[in-house]
């Protein structure tokens, strides 16, 4: 069964059709790339999957359940984590708290237990901190765990967003332009990291990215969007040689 499946998903804003009948299937444990020119609807697609928009038409299945009408926090709780194209961190919380916030929603204890500091709550929080520290360490941010998120460098902020997205143990991770603004050394590190996350945590990664070198190297399957339509899907070699993709996005080498 595909981990996520879109059937004829369309999204309209007023008269603008940002997504137009998208069909997409992503198999478990894949690294799946979505590319296309600016304004093709890539981020809109992510926003539809994560529940920020309810699609105008079409159906959206995650592990076989229809999630098209769920609110974002419920989608997140089902196991979809994401990062944002324009980084959205909790700037005036520490690095550790950024990750803990995301790791914490599934804890059972309520307001009273937190106020009174009951033993069950304390134990939960210790587990939660341990989990968050492990992720932060994996992203190479352990030294900075007590710094405010806003004081991190750009690349560090991107890594922190990934750590936060992983905190709730998602089975599907959406990365929206993770390499934007990174230099080539950082991009190489990022590729290693994405492989490591996929293999260690057994999750599926859906990736929007403009850096063709990274996309072609890392993705097993790629879908190409243009004006809200899917114009091609296949492995990197097929995509590179597809005449429609070359015409609308990749361009001709001279």
């Amino acid at each position: 069964m595909p981990i996520i499946e879109l059937q004829g998903v369309s999204q309209e804003f007023g008269g603008l059709r940002a997504l137009d009948g998208i069909d997409l299937k992503v198999e478990p444990n894949a690294i799946f790339g979505i590319i296309g020119p600016n304004g093709a609807g890539k981020t809109t697609l992510f926003n539809v999957i994560t529940g920020i928009y309810a699609p105008t038409e079409g159906r959206l299945f995650f592990h076989g359940t229809d999630i098209a009408s769920l609110s974002p926090y419920k989608v997140a709780r089902l196991g979809i984590g994401r990062t944002f194209q324009n980084i959205r961190l909790f700037n005036r919380l520490s690095v550790l708290d950024n990750v803990k916030v995301a790791a914490n929603w599934k804890r059972a204890s309520g307001l009273l237990a937190s106020l009174l500091g009951l033993p069950a709550y304390v134990r939960e929080q210790r587990e939660c901190s341990a989990k968050a520290e492990e992720l932060i360490n994996m992203m190479g941010l352990y030294e900075k765990r007590m710094e405010y998120a806003q004081s991190l460098s750009y690349g560090e902020q991107r890594r922190l967003e990934i750590a936060r997205a992983l905190a709730a143990n998602p089975s599907l991770l959406l990365l929206d332009e993770p390499a934007a603004g990174m230099n080539s050394a950082e991009k190489l590190e990022l590729m290693e990291l994405i492989w490591k996350i996929r293999d260690d945590m057994q999750l599926t990664i859906l990736l929007v990215e403009h850096d063709m070198h990274l996309v072609m190297n890392i993705c097993e399957t790629i879908a190409v969007l243009d004006y809200g339509r899917k114009i091609a899907e296949g492995d990197p070699a097929q995509i590179k040689s597809d005449p429609r993709v070359i015409q609308s996005y990749l361009g001709v080498e001279r």
């Binding site: 994560t50 920020i52 609110s71 974002p72 926090y73 997140a76 709780r77 984590g81 994401r82 944002f84 959205r88 961190l89 909790f90 700037n91 005036r92 919380l93 520490s94 708290d97 950024n98 803990k100 916030v101 995301a102 914490n104 929603w105 599934k106 804890r107 204890s109 307001l111 937190s114 106020l115 009174l116 500091g117 709550y121 929080q125 939660c128 007590m146 936060r164 997205a165 905190a167 709730a168």
Partner: protein, 298 residues
């Protein structure tokens, strides 16, 4: 407790004692507003409405039914909390300026309601409320409230509230039920506003609707902003300073409000994040550690 009270009233001048009690009441209410506005980022400009509900509820219960004082305190806070819940609901759809308008409107409705409310004495207000709020009680409640808000803000619920202020979309994407927490922040804020109002009513002998007008809401918002949004020490310091400041400015008589305004402007220019808004204990300790390291090296 009574011993402490006797001792306090003996050694502290009644004028200063009065300022200290009002300061404690303000701290309690401002810690409440800080949860709604400072931590969760939901701009509330109608905190006096909650204070008013707490004050009138407790005063009427005392005067009409003779219910024990501590029960009227709880009742005042609970009634305010119920209205906090009701006001929290529009907060789910509104942000920033629009939410501010709704909260201003709410506080005005409460004020006008009590202007026309027979058991509340209409415009004349209620008088003869027994003065049961003592210094030691206010001190005790202030400490309890500080303790529990500290627990709340460092808990997972508190951090989730901060995350809503910092980035609501990201908070949702992290699995946080922002709807639930925004309403909770209004309920908790209103509860403390109502508690403060109930204490106030039982200290002043006399309350009337004008005690809880728009300026009172603004004054409490000033305390939160001046101290630093979301900071507990900030809320305490902000409430303390803005309680004492008008008293100290009595020397300039009719220019009092002018000086008060000017001082606020100056403070905000030099500390735009509030007095303690961007200071963490961790950083202070770290700074100290760095100095120690330097001292060792030299």
């Amino acid at each position: 407790m009574t011993l402490l009270e006797q001792w306090i009233t003996e050694i502290i001048d009644p004028y200063y004692l009065r300022i200290l009690i009002l300061m404690g009441i303000n701290i309690i209410m401002v810690l409440g507003l800080n949860i709604t506005t400072g931590v969760t980022g939901q701009l509330s400009m109608g905190h006096a409405g909650f204070m008013s509900l707490g004050a009138y509820t407790s005063a009427i219960l005392t005067l009409e039914l003779g219910i024990p004082f501590w029960l009227t305190l709880l009742a005042g806070a609970a009634v305010a909390a119920v209205f906090g819940f009701i006001i929290g609901l529009p907060a789910l759809r509104l942000e920033g300026d629009y939410l501010a308008m709704v909260t201003i409107g709410f506080a005005e409705i409460v004020r006008v309601f009590f202007l026309n409310f027979e058991p509340g004495g209409k415009a004349v207000g209620l008088s003869g409320i027994p003065q049961q709020t003592t210094f030691s009680l206010v001190l005790l409640l202030t400490i309890v409230v500080i303790f529990f808000t500290q627990r709340l803000l460092s808990s997972r619920i508190g951090k989730a509230m901060y995350s809503i202020r910092e980035n609501e979309i990201a908070a949702e994407a992290c699995g946080i039920n922002t709807t639930h927490l925004k309403v909770l922040s209004f309920v908790l804020g209103a509860f403390l506003g109502g508690l403060g109002g109930a204490l106030y009513a039982h200290y002043m002998y006399y309350i009337n609707p004008q005690d809880f007008d728009f300026m009172r809401s603004i004054e409490m918002l000033n305390m939160v902003v001046l101290g630093g949004l979301g900071s507990i020490p900030g809320a305490i310091v902000g409430a303390a300073i803005l309680t004492v400041l008008p008293e100290m400015l009595r020397i300039v008589a009719e220019y009092r409000l002018l000086f008060y305004g000017a001082l606020l402007v100056i403070l905000m220019i030099f500390r735009p994040n509030g007095l303690l808004g961007d200071i963490r204990l961790y950083d202070l300790l770290k700074g100290k550690r760095k100095e120690e390291v330097k001292a060792c090296q030299s």
